[in-house]
Subunit: 390 residues, 2 copies
């Protein structure tokens, strides 16, 4: 690992990792978990509206109330978080001692930002794009992911749409969870295509964090384990939705992949998926998987030690085997290679322009192989040549 | 991992892991690290007296003062921490915003307890043996281990000698570090026998956490990596004390082993080493290594999946190969199998009685193979048959 390394190359930092509780049915124990924090009087639950509609919020609120904890609910959002969602949740959280996010990445991101804004009384825009330091003592936060993909439960990054429709972010360890509750039962009802797309997103988080220019010894521990867990179980989770063991492995893998990107970020596949999102609505996991498959044969030509190490972590003999493995995994998980019909209105030039946009450059620059302008054009052409049939 | 497991067997929890900064020379950057916490005015450095005597405290204090942070030093202790050391450090820390422990396990344990007692104003005895809950908001703590063995920098356990010479402990996540600074340069001056003893302690922490009755998926990630790092580099660190790469791997392995025992504890080798400590002074790492070698052939007969998995983590084909590997590692690291002369005054019966003492039963019970009374007698006899020549 450190063989022939300079002193500088030996250096790394890993950001703190919250308490993690893993187990099927663990959401039922939430009131006890909250009580363990001592002195929690009122909590705001931020929950995806379709989960709340299914009765999940009601049962939980009753159990919390029985335990002497006043439960409040914010679920008036769907899709990607917008500034108004962050504001509404932050306002409600101001009289709370804790926020609990239950849902996909959007619910968790709203929760993380609300915990900070409620503590300081500031508007979310005060912290957007690192304009000001986050408050040192945010509200306590519990994160309960119900999709296995974003890893938002263990990351410090939070994405939302700003006032002019622009994608903004709030970043900082102050937004990270105090406790993560991983309950594989919550992921069973995820439709198979979302299981596949989210799982691919998690795999690619881990792969890119393990192989980009920022990778290091500390993060690779989580990234390689995440790759093993997701690659080993995603197909079963997709084909046998009720298989708790497979669901658990993918959920844990997604959590570890979140730790990996929290430390090392992503690379070219995420440049493309963010660029695609700039053109029109498209599931982030699918967009990332499509961008990954289109760039991986080019990427592995650079044949770095990290690429080979990542390949061996999932039982391959070397980096050259990665493209076939990934395409095979996507086939077995039923990932249709296509874009939404709405993308018919855009050309490769449009996508290439988004890939070159300032906000997507960190993911271009972190890629272990230099991404030339000609590469951008070639990748954009390959992406836009996909059928627009979704 | 989860194959054919019941729902209960799938459950696990891992306790939070602090920020970790790893790099040679990183101690020089301590003032910046302290400033990153924002609002720190005065810090108490708790440092082993021999390190302070070597000038390490003076340089650090000057650098902190230059950065506008008032530095105080407590170094009036050596050997295992006693109640009076905890009291003195806690009292000094009352007017501080942060405590920084620099040294072996003793310095770190004193620091961790002082951060809690200073925040609450209570005496350490108030918290001994979990008599009362620890304060929710202890002082901020930075841990800088200078030996690679105890893993105290990532654990919640703190050992000290009470008023009647009795070993006591204070346990709780409130005592855990906010930030761990791993600087392999600090371990270079460790004498070779201490490098070997501390490194064996770290290896055994990882092995016992990965194979005892409390082990789980979450902890094994750290335990197996710790075993790989220590087994792969301890011999080089012992034979080439200045080899920073080997030093770094053993230091990181010790830190990960601390995470593993923080979640799953230890087993029979630590029962024996604590029992030996009850008879007379003996280095904890050496005592643990001797107890490990004496029990491992018996332990691996139980041939559990966890034992085999641990063996494979370090490149062996199965558990049966472990005893020869461990004895070989101890040989290559110059570990003399002997007890101090003072142990001449004790018999196997004395040691067996200590092994049966109430405070050592958790480590007996957690052992994956049942430890019968006859086993205790046999292990005690084997230990006391060692030459008393140290």
């Amino acid at each position: 690992m450190f063989v022939s390394q300079s002193r500088a190359a030996m250096q790394f930092s890993t950001s703190f990792i919250p308490d993690i509780r893993f187990g099927p049915g663990f959401l039922d124990g939430l009131p006890d978990v909250v009580k363990d924090f001592r002195g929690i009087r009122a909590v705001l639950i931020v929950m995806d509206s379709f989960l709340a509609a299914r009765g999940l919020a009601k049962g939980l609120a009753e159990d919390l109330a029985k335990a002497g904890i006043e439960p409040w609910l914010y679920s008036d959002f769907s899709g990607e978080p917008k500034l108004q969602h962050l504001r509404a949740a932050s306002e409600m959280a101001q009289s709370m001692d804790m926020v609990i996010g239950i849902g996909g990445g959007s619910a968790l991101d709203i929760t993380k930002v609300a915990a900070c804004c409620a503590a300081s009384g500031e508007d979310p825009m005060f912290y957007a794009l690192a304009a000001n330091p986050l408050p040192k003592k945010p509200l306590k936060k519990i994160m309960v992911p119900t999709t296995a993909g974003t890893g938002s439960e263990t990351s410090a990054t939070n994405i939302f749409t700003g006032p002019e429709g622009r994608k903004l972010w709030i970043w900082g360890p102050e937004t990270k969870a105090d406790l993560v509750l991983l309950d594989p039962e919550l992921t069973i009802s995820l439709p198979p295509n979302l299981t596949a797309w989210c799982g691919m997103d998690a795999f690619i988080h881990a792969f890119e964090a393990a192989t980009n220019r920022n990778t290091h010894t500390g993060a690779k521990l989580y990234a390689h384990e995440a790759m093993r867990l997701v690659a080993g179980s995603l197909e079963v989770a997709f084909k046998m939705p009720g298989n708790l063991e497979a669901r658990g492995k993918v959920l844990l893998g997604s959590c570890y992949a979140g730790i990996a990107i929290d430390n090392c970020g992503t690379a070219i596949a995420h440049n493309i998926s963010h660029a695609l999102a700039g053109l029109g609505p498209l599931h982030h996991g699918l967009a990332t998987a499509l961008g990954f498959e289109a760039t991986l044969p080019w990427l592995v030509e650079s044949d770095t030690p990290d690429l080979n190490e990542a390949a061996r972590a999932i039982g391959l003999s070397g980096a050259a085997q990665l493209p076939a493995f990934v395409s095979g995994l996507m086939d077995r998980c039923g990932v249709v290679r296509a874009l939404p019909k709405a993308f018919d209105g855009f050309s490769a030039q449009h996508l290439a322009a988004e890939m070159r946009a300032a906000e997507n450059q960190p993911m271009r620059r972190s890629t272990i192989r230099e991404v030339t302008d000609a590469d951008i054009d070639a990748f954009a052409a390959a992406m836009m040549a996909l059928p627009k049939t979704l």
